[in-house]
Structure formats: structure tokens, C-alpha cells
Symmetry: C2
Subunit: 580 residues, 2 copies
């Protein structure tokens, strides 16, 4: 599907115009395509590439230092005409002549061939080189008849380096040919594409199927199979390419390969990285050293969904070409190095979960009580999760029950680990809070994590749990949730159950009531306040899931808060010792 069009007949022309406007520092437009913004130095062979449009960054995006001197640009998926190629080559050529390089397609071979004859007739030395990296488009013993796909880039890089080094036209041609001999690609497609102005796709792939070896213009591949898992696809691609390892590389002690994992258009970067993860593992297992992997869109097919994997079997000369600096609109390598010292493994040691911080025996003893509280909370939330979800679904996305379940499970697991490690009560609660926030995510996870952390910090690991410290921790938690959560009392959030609880608890404890009694009393306040949120209207615009539909129903966050403090009240009753 193409969205941004004026008249489809003008699409390619307008696209080139916009491309040149966006990259005026690097390229200039000429009839038939683009050339570098600088003249090819005398004595340097010009590398002129080209092909149909619709493959960006191929071919115009690859014009610049370290890559091509010019690109001839045909219509969408159509070879440029000989005249266009001739024109670009004339503009790019110095006295040293021109290497024309392109993918091996009948139309390109014909038109570049005609352009070569015209350039020679003008006295400009010229040779053609057609790239043939696609292993699925012909048998290995007829490799010269194969099509060119993403492997274009490795061949262009080789030609560019030889040209920049001042090599002769024949030497540039032969080095490009050498790179081509050591480049193999394997592509698959998951969808077709629709050209600008067309009402029907140019070609299609059935849903949940994959065209194995399908070409970048929809050319028939080897077979069609069910869409595999990402890792299985990686295995398929790697296995096939390892099967075509060049003979002269078989004995290499530590083989080095350039790698390209190319997205054909609609596959997202995040997906390519999932695939590359396994590709990288497999190449490592095969004993190969990967040099400068490229994961991204290098040769596309309009909005076709699909990928290709290219292996570029390096020798020293090819590695120099592959890693040479480049500055083109779409391909920039080398240049500004990272500042600062390299990191080593020690850099990250401090971030891993630490051992138990120092704590008193009293605090470690209280930690068992904290764990019991969290166990009870977790059980209560687990039992109520469905109802919380239903309540949330009235006005929101219904995930409150799931979020609270995930969070309390994570909190309980972390609290158990902390107790096992001999942490004090404060640290047990802090780690439980961090785990809650980390695993549950979302607003409620973040706020519960924050709240538990505040209480844990106030309790600390030095002394027995004191009622005053608990009161202070819950006050801190209420303040922090108000400040960082951005909600006020009356906005129909958990705060509407929390603040009455915090106030009642503080009042009772300050009046000398023991924590167990004070908590039971405050929990009742909280329960009433949670129920009363049914009458409130949510504040507009704060959270995406709040809507007017919630009026008449209590806020799920307030309800779950009241549940948790009620459950805690029950647990405190069962703990023998009381806290003042």
C-alpha cells in the first residue's frame, strides 16, 4: 500500500527530487539518477550502480564516499534505460573510466550493456559487472545465472574501495567479481507489495505462509511453506548459506564473515533483531567470526514483508573493503569513535542484586512477619483477581486483576529470597516492592512498588519494627504516590482509599493504640472510603483508561488497596507479638 502520492505517474520523479533535497550535502541530481556532490578525482574509476526504483536505500541511498559515485534510477522495479545509465555515467566519470554494476536481471544486463557500448563509443573506458548472490535463483554450478539481491552492497563496497585506491578499471572490475564470488544471499517473503497507483498487489504470499527464495520483485522461489518460528527461519537461512561456503575458505583457521540481515520493507527492526539473535548464535557455533554485521533495510522491495541473509566470506582485502568508512545518505560507517574507556564485566557487577545488607537480629526476626503479611496479601489478591478484573473492565481495560496478581506473586518471591538471604524486615519489604514494580509494570505496579519501598525504608533493618516507623512509612508512601503519581484526593484512584487509612492509622498510633488494633481500625476506614469512590467522577485526561462509565462503581485501585490492608489486619492478628 502506498499512502503518500500525488499522481502515481510522477511518483518516482518526485521521490528523487525529495531525496536530493533531503541529501543536498551528499548528492546531485542528473538526468537518469544521482551522482556524488563532488567530482570523481582524476585517475579514479567511477563506480556507477543502478536498477529499478522501489528498493531504497538501493540504489540512490548508496551514493557517496565508500560506495558508489552515481546511481541510475529506473521506474519502480524497472531497469533504468541505457540513456539514463549513460547520462549518470557521463556525469560521474573521470578520465579513468566507469564500472557499471547492478543486479543480474535481463533488463538491467541489456540496458547497462547498451550504455557500456555508448560510453566506449565516446572514448570512456567502461566495463559491466552483474551481481549474482541469490542462491535460490539458480544452481551452484551455474552461479553466474543467479539473480542479484542484497549482496549488491558487498560487491559495491569492494568496487568502491578498489576505485578509491586508484586501481585500474580492470582491477576494480576483478575485485568486484572476487567479492561477488564470496557473497551468498538467501531470501524469503511473507507478503507481496502494491506499486503506487496500482489497485492490485504485484504479487502476493498467502497468509501464514512463506515464499522460500522468492525474489525481490516476486520472482518464483523454491517452494512455499508454513511460516516458521523466528529461530527456525534463522536455522533455515544459516544452514543453506553454510552449505555454499567457498572452497578456498574451507581450510581457514578462523573464518571471518561479513553478515547482512536485510529487511525487505514491512518487517520491523525489532523483528529483525529477534531473528539476528539466533543467526548470530548459529554463526558463532559454526566457528565463524562475524565482522561488522548489518541488520536493517539495505535492499528493499517496496513494502514487501520478508528478509534476506547474506554471508560475505572475507579475506584481508575484502575485510578492508567491508569495514572501510562510508558516508552516503543511507549508509554511514566509520567516523567518530566512541569516547571513554571500554567497559569490562566489572562495570555491571554493582547492578546485580546485592547480598543482604547488615541487619539486626530483631529486624531479621520481624522479617518473618513481613513475609507472612505478603503471603496473605498474595493469596487474597489471587482469590479476588477475577472480580478486580471485572470491576476494571467497566471503565478501563480490565487488566487490574492480572496486574495485581503478577505484582504480588513477584513481591512474594522476592520477599522469600530476601528472607532466605537473611535480610532484615526493611530490606525484605523494599525488595518485594521493587519486584512488584518490575514485574507488574503499569501504573499500579509502579505505585505499589514505590509504596512498599517507602515503608521498607522507614522500617529499616536496624531495629524491631516500630509502630511509629510504620506510620511514617505509610505517610511517606502516600506523599510519594501523590507527588509522583500525579493524582489528588477525589480523582478516583487508590489514593482515595489510602489517605483515609494513613490518617486513621496515624491518629490511633499517636493516641497510643497498638499497631494491630490501629491497623484493624484504619483498614475499616479504608474499606468504607474505597466503596465511597463509586460516587466519584474520574478526573478527565489523566489516565487513558478512565471514563465516565465508572460512575456508580468503585475504583478498582481503591478496592484492591482496601483488600490488601484488610488482609494485612488479619495477618497481624495472627502474629503473636504486638508492635507499639
Amino acid at each position: 500500500m502506498t499512502y503518500l502520492v500525488n499522481d502515481s505517474a510522477d511518483f518516482v520523479d518526485e521521490s528523487i527530487e525529495g531525496f536530493v533535497a533531503a541529501n543536498a550535502d551528499l548528492v546531485r541530481r542528473v538526468h537518469g539518477g544521482v551522482v556524488r556532490a563532488t567530482r570523481t578525482p582524476p585517475g579514479q574509476v567511477a563506480v556507477v550502480i543502478g536498477g529499478g526504483s522501489g528498493h531504497y536505500p538501493a540504489f540512490a541511498g548508496l551514493v557517496g564516499q565508500g560506495l558508489a559515485h552515481g546511481a541510475a534510477m529506473g521506474n519502480i522495479f524497472a531497469s533504468p534505460s541505457a540513456q539514463q545509465i549513460y547520462s549518470v555515467a557521463r556525469a560521474a566519470a573521470s578520465d579513468a573510466g566507469v564500472l557499471l554494476s547492478f543486479g543480474n536481471y535481463a533488463g538491467d544486463v541489456l540496458n547497462f550493456g547498451i550504455a557500456e557500448e555508448r560510453l566506449k563509443a565516446d572514448g570512456i573506458p567502461c566495463r559491466c559487472f552483474a551481481v549474482t548472490d541469490d542462491v535460490c535463483s539458480g544452481p551452484a554450478d551455474k552461479a553466474g545465472e543467479r539473480r542479484g539481491i542484497a549482496g549488491d552492497l558487498t560487491v559495491f563496497r569492494a568496487a568502491a574501495l578498489a576505485a578509491a585506491e586508484g586501481k585500474s578499471l580492470d582491477a576494480v572490475h576483478d575485485f568486484a567479481s572476487h567479492a561477488n564470488d564470496r557473497t551468498r544471499s538467501f531470501g524469503v517473503a511473507f507478503s507481496g507489495c502494491t506499486l503506487p497507483g496500482a489497485s492490485e498487489p504485484l504479487f502476493t504470499v498467502p497468509e501464514s505462509r512463506m515464499g522460500v527464495g522468492m525474489g525481490i520483485h516476486g520472482e518464483q522461489g523454491i517452494e512455499e511453506v508454513d511460516m516458521p518460528r523466528a529461530d527456525d527461519l534463522a536455522d533455515m537461512l544459516v544452514d543453506r548459506l553454510l552449505g555454499e561456503r567457498p572452497n578456498d575458505n574451507q581450510r581457514a583457521a578462523s573464518p571471518r564473515v561479513g553478515v547482512m540481515l536485510n529487511g525487505l520493507g514491512s518487517v520491523k527492526y525489532e523483528e529483525l533483531f529477534v531473528l539476528y539473535r539466533r543467526v548470530s548464535q548459529r554463526l558463532e557455533q559454526a566457528g565463524l567470526t562475524v565482522v561488522q554485521p548489518e541488520v536493517g533495510e539495505l535492499v528493499t522491495s517496496f513494502e514487501m514483508a520478508g528478509v534476506s541473509l547474506t554471508l560475505f566470506w572475507l579475506d584481508d582485502a575484502l575485510e578492508a573493503a567491508w569495514t572501510a568508512p562510508a558516508t552516503t545518505p543511507a549508509y554511514r560507517r566509520g567516523g567518530v569513535p566512541l569516547e571513554g574507556e571500554p567497559r569490562d564485566a566489572d562495570d555491571f557487577a554493582a547492578i546485580h542484586e546485592q547480598a543482604a545488607p547488615p541487619s539486626s537480629e530483631a529486624s531479621r526476626s520481624d522479617a518473618a512477619g513481613v513475609l507472612a503479611v505478603i503471603e496473605a496479601i498474595q493469596a487474597r489478591i489471587e482469590a479476588e483477581a477475577d472480580d478486580l478484573g471485572k470491576l476494571d473492565a467497566i471503565s478501563g481495560d480490565g487488566d487490574h486483576g492480572i496486574g495485581m496478581t503478577t505484582g504480588t506473586r513477584a513481591a512474594l518471591a522476592a520477599a522469600r529470597r530476601a528472607v532466605e538471604k537473611g535480610c532484615g524486615a526493611g530490606t525484605v519489604l523494599t525488595r518485594a516492592g521493587d519486584a512488584w514494580a518490575n514485574e507488574a509494570g503499569g501504573t499500579s505496579g509502579a505505585l505499589w512498588g514505590l509504596g512498599l519501598r517507602c515503608v521498607g525504608t522507614a522500617i529499616g533493618d536496624s531495629d524491631s519494627v516500630a509502630a511509629a516507623a510504620v506510620v511514617q512509612g505509610i505517610r511517606d508512601a502516600t506523599d510519594a504516590i501523590m507527588r509522583l503519581g500525579g493524582a489528588d484526593i477525589g480523582d478516583k484512584t487508590m489514593l482515595d482509599a489510602m489517605q483515609p487509612f494513613a490518617n486513621a492509622l496515624a491518629e490511633q498510633v499517636e493516641a497510643g493504640t497498638c499497631l494491630r488494633e490501629a491497623w484493624r481500625h484504619a483498614a475499616k476506614h479504608s474499606e468504607q472510603a474505597a466503596a465511597a469512590t463509586a460516587a466519584l467522577k474520574p478526573r478527565k485526561g489523566r489516565a487513558k483508561n478512565h471514563s465516565e462509565k465508572s460512575v456508580g462503581h468503585a475504583d478498582p485501585g481503591a478496592v484492591s488497596f482496601a483488600m490488601i490492608v484488610a488482609s494485612t489486619a488479619t495477618t497481624l492478628e495472627s502474629i503473636h507479638e504486638d508492635v507499639t
Copy 2:
């Protein structure tokens, strides 16, 4: 649609793993995200960015020299947890503290805020800055409540430069805030997106409609309208952003702006360039100087189709930040300059169509006859186009009639221009051939262009047209078409009508027959040979449009060749003078 998945629950984790494997020279993985591969130097504030996953290159792709020191990565479209942010910030921080920067969303504000408190509690200086560039997400007088979209990049760039210069945490924060004040973005969406593992899209846009101001997670925008033409969309985007030009820029003599035209996922580069063409024109018309425009994917929304335009109103300090070198996985600027002298307009003068080359009066006189031949050919092809198309449709894509019509029309127009300019007969034919190849494209266009060029070259502009020169030219054309077209006699192509014609013509002329007679005789041979191609089978694998279905039908290329030589025979009859 997501294609490359193993288990959707592992998608983000595996994607980060692959990303780090692909960019091992630049980044290291830590709990919660990634940091640069080098330590933040002492005294340098670390800029730690982050947000949900699914926005690549935001946020991990923007970690490196000239941009962030680390990125915290949440689940798809979900804020990272405070713990993740804290962990990344701890790994990135030197003694100078951390600026946390992110888009202004409730979940991010909450979690980055909590992380800030934890970092400060650890004694690490820390401040938060939320980006608010999206003009559609709130009124201008409440700009601080707006969401952050692609403008993240300008703010991160500013923070990075201030940090690299050794500025204090407060100064880095304030410069980021200054950049934010001068950054405005406007986004539109043409489709929704579907998260990995989901069976339904997260949100949708009806077909042929556009969500104006729709957010990068599908947040409601201003309105929904019919999909506009590309230029009209450019106008909409530019007009709105020019309406929010900062007050302190209104009086600038020559205002300079950084520009980002950002693709949200499914829009192709070719389309972005079509849109940028008009954006660039409009900004120029408004008297603005565009500095380092960026056209591409900078902040995506998974595979959502849509774009955003960002204007970054520069002052000297901001321009330094915007144009500073950068080396990150997805954003590389500066570095290797182009070699060679800059081009100027003269470089391209030679490529434009030249004036008439020198010619004899005799040749100029014969040019009229050449023009008459081309006129007759054009009329004949025009009349037969439908039948040629139908014949081609039997085994191919049916475009032979259209291609020949386009080509002969272009040839005729070019021949007329050449005659008007006073060209000799050879040049008229050469230019006609070039125009044919250029306009018609495809294989037949290229071959006819080649053929006419061969004959034109043989005839030349010096003498009257000689029969021997014509014979030589047609022989050259046949050889060239065989060599460059890659077909042999019997492959069921135009050659099967052309070679008998060329042989018969040569035989007759060499025997002393005048050209008119020889041509008529040879044309009959050609017609018979074209008809005889019905018995041939096409050579397999050469051209995609040849199939077995053609057996029993003549080859359209051979038939149109025979038509053209027959039409020429008739024209030669009508030309008074004869040629020997």
C-alpha cells in the same frame, strides 16, 4: 502484523539480545536496557533516555557518541519500570549525575520520577526532563502537558552536546528544556498496528482515512479526515507548525530550522521523499533555511503507517547540537567527509541534449526522408497496438502494444526536434532511437533504441544515405541485439524476423538492387519469418513473460518488427529519389 517471533512473551527480550549482538561495538546490555560500550568519563553528565519498546530506533538505537549514554527499554509501548531505569542509570552514571529524558506520558513520568528518587537516595545527582513536542496533544498555552513524539531526538541531541561539553547537571537539564521549547511536531496516521502475539490490532484507522494528530500509541488526535494527496498533507503539516513559531524567532533575519520527516513504520522511504519534496519547497518559500534535514524512521510505532514532521527552531547553540557528530547504532552523522572537489552547475552541462552536430547539406536533406519513415512507422504501430497487445497477452503480460506505441511516439517527437534543429540523417535516427529506449523502457524499447542507434551511426551525418551504409547499420543492429539482448535465432524473439530481413537486404544490395527494391523484397522475407515463429517454442528461463502457451502463435516482437519494415518499404516507395 509481526512475522518474526518465537514466543511473544520473549519478543522484547530476544529483540534486545539481537540488537546488542548486532551492535556489540557500540552498546552493552544491562538489566533494563543498554548503555554505551564505553564508560561515561568522569565529570560528564550521563544522558539516560527510555520508554516503551516498539519505537526503534527510539530508544536503544540512539545510544552512543553524540546521543544517549544509556536507554531503559520497557515492554512494547509500556514504560520501563523504575527498577529498569534505575539499573540503566546506575550503569551509565559517572560522578556528575544523570539526566533522565523521555516522552511525556503518565507511565514514563511516574517510573522515571521514582527512579530519580532512588538515584538521589543513592547519592547520584539526577533530574528528569519530559519531552512535549506534539502540538496536537494539547493547546499551546498548556504546552507542558503535551506528549512527546519524534521531537525526542532534538532534545536528546541538545542534552548530549551539553553533557559532552562537561556542563553541570542543571545546565544540561536547562539546555534540554530550551531545545524542547523550540521543537514542535505534528503527526498523522494512516493505519494502526498489531503487537506481537496479539490477534487484533491495538488500534486502527479506516481505509483511505487519516487520523490527524493521532499519537504514537494510537492516542486520539484532533480529527479524522479523508487521506489527502501528498502535497496537501505536506501543506497541512507545514502550515500548522509555522503557526507555532517561537516568539523569540519571529524577528530572526534568516531563520534556521532543523527538520525531521519521520516515518512511523510502514511508510516507505520513497514515499517520505515524495512528501519531503513539498515540505522542503514550502519551508524555502517561508524564508527558512533548512539545516541537516532528516528523512527516515526516527521514532516508529511498530508497523503503524503514518508520518510526523518536526521543526527545530535553531539558535547557534542548538544548531551546534543538531549538527554535532554522532555514532549510534541507528544514527550516524559527521565523520568521513566526501573527497573530491564540489561540483558546480557546469558539471552537468555536457549531459544535456546537445545542439546539432556538424552535418552535410545532403544528410540534412535525407533527414526529411528519415522523418517520413518514422512518421509512417508510428502511424502503423498506433493502428496495430491493440492487436499486438492481444497477441502478447496470450503468453505474456500484454504490454507489447503499449510499449511500442510509447516508444514510437517518443521516437517521432525526438526525430522532429532533431530535424528542426538541423541535424543530419544519422543523428535524427540516433536521437529517435534514444528517445524510444528512454520513454518505452522494457526489453523491446531498449532493443529498438539500440537498433536505431546502430543504423543512425552507420548512416552518419556526412554523406547522403548510401544503401551499403544502411545494410551495414542493420547488420550492426542485428549483431548488437543478439549480443546484448542475450537471445539466439530460434528463441522466438524479434531476431527471428530481423535476421532473415538483414540477410535478404544485404544479398540484394550487394547484387546491385536499389535500396527501395531490396527493402521491399527483404520485408516480405521478414513477414514470412515472423509468421513462422508461431511454430517455435520460447527458450526457457530467458524472459519472465515467455511461456509454453505461445506455441501456435507468432512472437509479438517478430510481428512488430515485420510491420515496421513493411511500413518502411511503403514509405520508401513514396520517396521520389532512390538510393543505391
